[in-house]
């Protein structure tokens, strides 16, 4: 899959937040790569650093208190962390784009849909009002909204959540980015709308041939969309596996726990299995492997030495001393 140079490569990314109580390391030494047209899923609990990773790629971490403490983000072989703010503005929205979690609040309430979408064309392509409006209409019709010609003059408050998310997708796709980061785009939506949006994303990804990073806490959603899945825990990537092997042969104990915790109809007479304990305090993380206090396999070594993400089998990577069953 990773033939030649990857389109986007994140190397040892570390992001810290300076808080009153101390330094919080939200993303710790995360590395992954994304090939052209590939779909990478990132799953993890709330607070595991998924969104922070996404925002770091676009350099949108609020700073202060946030700070990218180390690592590299290579896009097309160039390190985004060395770019000036002005250069980043040119990349955002045109080369790398993002869809947010909350479609209800992500649109500016005082502009029409058309004005907001065409802004992208005016900024990045320097289009005139008229041309950008036509383009906005085209991109709106590509996200399958009914009658884009009238929708374009509507205000966000007149649209439903699903429609707004489609508009957000249209905005993100406006300039045909090469990488699209979708940060839990379906969390705030109904299940039926969720399915439609996922279907749409899949279709658009093939149509525009872009790479997709899909962030979610829902394993099922990720499974339906991604060929490769990364699992994050407490700011670190603990496993990156192909879809099939992740679900059939999970390598990291945390991934195993997550899969166990999915309710299954055939096990309805058994109580739901849960991972004991709760996610660690990132201000004062445990020594060694951060998962060891909750891990059923933990040994002495896990308490002292943090494991690194290493190749296990094929293209599967895992950060555990005792991977697999």
């Amino acid at each position: 899959m990773n033939t030649g140079q990857p389109l986007l490569e994140v190397r040892n990314l570390t992001v810290e937040f300076q808080l009153k109580q101390g330094i919080l390391r939200a993303v710790n030494n995360v590395s992954f790569s994304l090939a052209e047209g590939e779909t990478l899923g990132i799953v993890g609990e709330t607070g595991s650093g998924k969104s922070v990773t996404a925002f770091s790629i676009l350099r949108l971490i609020p700073s202060p208190p946030g700070r990218i403490a180390g690592g590299e983000i290579l896009f097309d072989g160039k390190n985004l962390l060395n770019k000036s703010e002005r250069e980043m503005q040119k990349i955002r929205g045109s080369k790398i784009s993002m869809i947010f979690q909350e479609p209800m609040t992500s649109l500016n309430p005082s502009y029409t849909i058309g004005q907001q979408i065409s802004e992208c064309y005016r900024i990045h392509l320097g289009d005139s009002r008229k041309v950008s409006r036509e383009r906005a209409e085209q991109v709106l019709s590509s996200v399958r909204v009914p009658s884009p010609k009238t929708l374009i003059d509507r205000y966000p408050y007149e649209l439903s959540g699903g429609m707004r998310q489609r508009v957000m997708i249209a905005m993100a796709l406006a300039c045909q980015p090469r990488v699209l980061i979708a940060d839990e785009p379906t969390t705030a939506l109904d299940v039926t709308i969720q399915a439609q949006i996922l279907e749409l994303l899949k279709e658009l990804q093939e149509k525009f041939k872009m790479a997709l990073i899909f962030i979610s806490h829902n394993l099922g959603v990720v499974a339906s969309l991604c060929n490769r899945i990364g699992v994050m825990y407490a700011g670190s990537l603990v496993e990156v596996s192909g879809k099939k092997s992740l679900f059939t042969k999970p390598l990291h104990p945390y991934t195993m726990g997550l899969l166990e915790a999915i309710p299954r109809p055939e096990h309805r007479d058994r109580p739901l299995t849960a991972i004991p304990g709760s996610i660690c305090n990132l201000l004062d993380p445990p020594s060694g492997c951060k998962f060891h206090p909750r891990c059923f396999k933990a040994k002495e070594l896990c308490k002292t030495e943090p494991p690194t993400l290493e190749k296990h089998s094929g293209e599967n990577l895992v950060a555990c001393y005792f991977p697999g069953e």
């Binding site: 949108l60 990349i91 992500s106 649109l107 009658s147 003059d153």
Partner: protein
């Protein structure tokens, strides 16, 4: 929303026009629900109408002196009576509206022109920018408003421009504070993040995205500020610091006839009433808009 016409309504332009009209009427209906605001709006419209069409509404020349008819009571010849030099009070009041609005518009524009950008920058960038601007605003606020206006007029000399400055400077801090507060609450919204994601620059985000969403408190402030500017202009003129005689200014008219209050109360009554009504109008509209923009407070 019933305000949105159906998709079948002809060409794009007619659709947009109909949409615009529908939105405007919808907005007007909301304001009109508040009776007092409607009264305020009515008073203001009358005032603006008088200022615009003054020459067509009057019965005399505002500068025409007729000592023989001085200090008359209201009559058919002089609807609201005459002042101590026999000038027609009604005519001078109508022309006074011109003076009042001229000064008020200039002062309000000046206050808003400086206050709004200062508030935007302070709220958006925070930290030392905020610190620096807000301390300057605090130092302006440290002076009693009217006193500062008097001091400024005294040092700048008379004339329209110094009145603009004297009255306008007073209102800069109030705009700055209001906008700053609104920006602080708006800049955390996700649409700002989304705009940044689209690759927009800070200045663009500030003026194009955040400012329009801060318009509600600004509009309220504008209305109240108009009232304040008219009152300040009147007081300055009353103190002899505003326009020189024989300019028809409400404050000046009040001052000129004040020695004859016992002799002819009508001469002072009408200019005083006009000032009160005009200020009442702007205040009612301002309060009405505040209620509309903040529905939670309205229900209480």
């Amino acid at each position: 929303m019933e305000a949105i016409p159906s998709q079948a309504s002809g060409t794009l332009w007619s659709f947009r026009l109909a949409n615009g009209v529908a939105r405007f009427t919808a907005g007007f209906k909301v304001i009109a629900r508040n009776r007092l605001a409607l009264v305020g709006l009515g008073l203001i419209i009358v005032g603006i109408f008088c200022a615009l069409f003054a020459p067509f509404l009057v019965t005399h020349d505002p500068y025409e002196i007729n000592i023989a008819e001085r200090l008359q009571s209201p009559s058919f010849a002089h609807w609201l009576g005459t002042d101590f030099m026999g000038r027609d009070t009604y005519t001078r009041m109508i022309f006074g509206a011109r003076t009042a609005f001229q000064v008020a518009i200039g002062a309000v524009v000046l206050g808003a022109m400086f206050g709004i950008p200062i508030g935007l920058l302070s709220g958006y960038f925070g930290r030392w920018v905020d610190m620096a601007f807000m301390r300057v605003m605090d130092s302006i606020l440290a002076f009693p408003g009217r006193l500062l206006a008097i001091a400024l007029v005294a040092s700048l000399g008379g004339g329209l421009f110094s009145l603009y400055v004297a009255i306008g400077v007073n209102s800069i801090p109030s705009y700055a504070r209001i906008v700053r507060g609104a920006v602080l609450s708006q800049k955390e919204r996700e649409y700002v993040e989304a705009a940044r994601m689209t690759g927009e620059a800070d200045t663009f985000i500030m003026f194009r995205h955040i400012l329009p969403n801060c318009m509600a408190p600004i509009l309220v402030r504008l209305s109240l500020d108009f009232a304040n500017a008219i009152l300040t202009e009147s007081s300055l003129s009353f103190l002899g610091l505003g326009f020189p005689p024989p300019t028809p200014s409400w404050g000046l008219m009040l001052k000129e006839v004040s020695p004859f209050l016992e002799l002819q109360p009508w001469a002072a009554f009408f200019p005083g009433l006009t000032i009160s009504l005009m200020i009442l109008g702007f205040n009612l509209l301002g309060d009405g808009m505040r209620d509309v923009f903040d529905p939670r407070q309205y229900q209480r």
